[in-house]
Symmetry: C2
Subunit: 453 residues, 2 copies
Amino acid sequence: MSVEPDVLDEVTPDLIRRIEDALAEDRAGEVRRLLGDLSAPGQASVLEQLSDPERDKLVGVLGRDLDPEALIELNDEVLESVLGQLNSKDIAAAAHELESDDAASILEDLSDKELREVLAELPANERADIEHALAYPEGSAGRMMQRSLVRVPDGWAIGQVIDYCREATDLPDDVYDIFVVDLEGRLRGSVPLGRMLRTKRPVPILDIVDPDIPSVPTTADQAEVAHVFRDFNLVSCPVVDAEGRLQGVIMVDDVVDVIDEEAEEDLLKMGGVGVDDMHADAVRTARLRAVWLTVNLATAVLASLVIGQFEHSIEKLVVLAVLMPIVASMGGNAGTQTVTVAVRALAMGELTAANALRFVAKETVVGGLNGMLFALVMGAAVVAWYGDWQLGAVIAAAMICNLVAAALAGTLIPLGLQKFGVDPAVSSTVFLTTVTDVIGFVAFLGLATLFLL
Amino acid sequence: MSVEPDVLDEVTPDLIRRIEDALAEDRAGEVRRLLGDLSAPGQASVLEQLSDPERDKLVGVLGRDLDPEALIELNDEVLESVLGQLNSKDIAAAAHELESDDAASILEDLSDKELREVLAELPANERADIEHALAYPEGSAGRMMQRSLVRVPDGWAIGQVIDYCREATDLPDDVYDIFVVDLEGRLRGSVPLGRMLRTKRPVPILDIVDPDIPSVPTTADQAEVAHVFRDFNLVSCPVVDAEGRLQGVIMVDDVVDVIDEEAEEDLLKMGGVGVDDMHADAVRTARLRAVWLTVNLATAVLASLVIGQFEHSIEKLVVLAVLMPIVASMGGNAGTQTVTVAVRALAMGELTAANALRFVAKETVVGGLNGMLFALVMGAAVVAWYGDWQLGAVIAAAMICNLVAAALAGTLIPLGLQKFGVDPAVSSTVFLTTVTDVIGFVAFLGLATLFLL
């Protein structure tokens, strides 16, 4: 009962400091005691908060005292560095404690040689389960599923099932559903444990089975799996092969991790960052981010070329240079709002072919409305400031143009990318700002050249 | 077994078109048949994809045939419009079918008068459960929990518990854990159903109880609840009052919704959009977004004032106007990368007081590295383009300044906002672009004024 609502309360800055001090002064006993008091996620949190050398030292001190469950919670970069400090016997000991799907997720990034060494330390049946999981591609339902589950033939009565459960010693604690299969091993449905407990012994299990439960194929992508759990409010979901034969079960806690990952990916991609950034070292981080910044540089240079076309206008009327970033910036921000809504709605399946047209139309109206609002505001401000109503009219017209263009680009770019199978989260914003910069500068400087000079 | 991996496969654009046609031609029977074949999330997806008038018509046709479970899946804006089409008897009938926590989540946005009318239609015990839930603040553990659970005294043996479960008729199907309480109703721990099934009847329940399971107080925030589920891989979590007495249980499917909501909020806030945007009408959407655009306008005007200080320099050397947006834009983008990582890491509890300094230092190094890289690239490009090595040196120096400033602002702003209790997702980017615009223009135009004129 003593667990705090937030696991992070357990890992206070003060505790981190005490661990760091104990590590610095090589007080191994104290380190082990401080870590031993923590839950697995608490240990993971400590590992993620320490610096690289401190973490290496800590793993060296803890060795097998490290909770194997903590490994599952680690960020990929941190996991890699922790595994690098453990020998294959220690890693195998940890894998032995875990479900096959969790063990596979820890071992999947090892080199072939390391993986072989670790697997050689494991009992044959565990090795087979892990190899089976690793045979499915990363991010597939086959990789996510665990193979230990309760499977009973469709001819049994409740009494037989209960007796079977009571006698089987290797069943996991986290059994929530009994799966019923036919003679060929094809899934016929499931029975929640609670319902079985409330049913009389002679009743055939088929009488209380849910035949219409959702299942996913081994080949399903993890994002699809998350959709099924989300939409059907599932706790567990059976996984079947192409012939409908039961292969394993995915539990909701693994799906929560997937949902977190996907959300993180979308957020980071929209911000122009790759995954794992927080724990990568500075040089690697700089290199990863430089890719995106290079793309952005190309956009910025393109915008700059556009401005270059109007050098003479700016020479004659330098106030244009002062005001032009406002139009471009408002377009970029309004467009980002639209892109963000579109990307999220596409990811959640709320934006589809059926309502795409309505969405584009609505966003265009929104762009027009806000275009008029800010045209009025900026137009008035410029007239008041410079006493030049023509300049005010030009910035107002450019603002409307750019906010409508931002709405069209902000909807059509992600929809188009999605249609061509490109992830809209990654590339939408760069295309968008290209459009809003170019249109913003062309509209403002172009109209100014036409009407003011 | 027939359910597709992705529920959206069930709701095809073609199906939407057929439903729209049937609605347009008032073929109520066909509408009911088309919708009747769908799962609850499928119905929700249809409701979200139709236009407002179509949706109103559909709800009118379906009435009580609408699956109550579909209501839970609806976006808030859409739910409001659906409830607006139903009378209080229909809403009460739907609430009657749902768990008290789900019923409360549907009714929470009704006006007091509507709520009273709906509650009056419900049996006294259900009314009490819903009122009990609504008494807790929105987004709290108390509001999220359901009150129906299996609770047994700590003096019982397994046999008594099994008999109790078999005889109780009102237990929900989704029971996964038995909760054990003492005479005062204080939670003593839980027993997974699977473990109980495998234990002999005379064994005291206290012998197999997990005493150290996490619990959350009724006052916990939903984000904290999600943290506990995530960190401990839970399927259900008991909720206790200040005295440790068991009040209810939160199931993982509700937590999945919370995780989705929080991720969506963070993403949308970073993009400068409020929640519910997709389904709000154009005028309301425009108004909501205008707030953020106004803040952005202020930033842009500030940047423009900075440029205005250098009018004379630009007049003499118009190429400055051509090149200046490049420096500002690169700073803005590099800073956005940093802010995105910081906001996510803060939300996930990976960035704390313990490692904040290391994070700032690392990001500054990253900013410096990429600053030097792009200084070199742009410096060389400008020399090649304009044949002016001094201009090249100025843009290179400004680039380094601005990317280091972006790194410092991108880390210190979200950390500072978090420290003062302001949500860093909402306000970080606007402060950031203010910094990168101002520093970008000042550094480039300032250095140019000093060295080139």
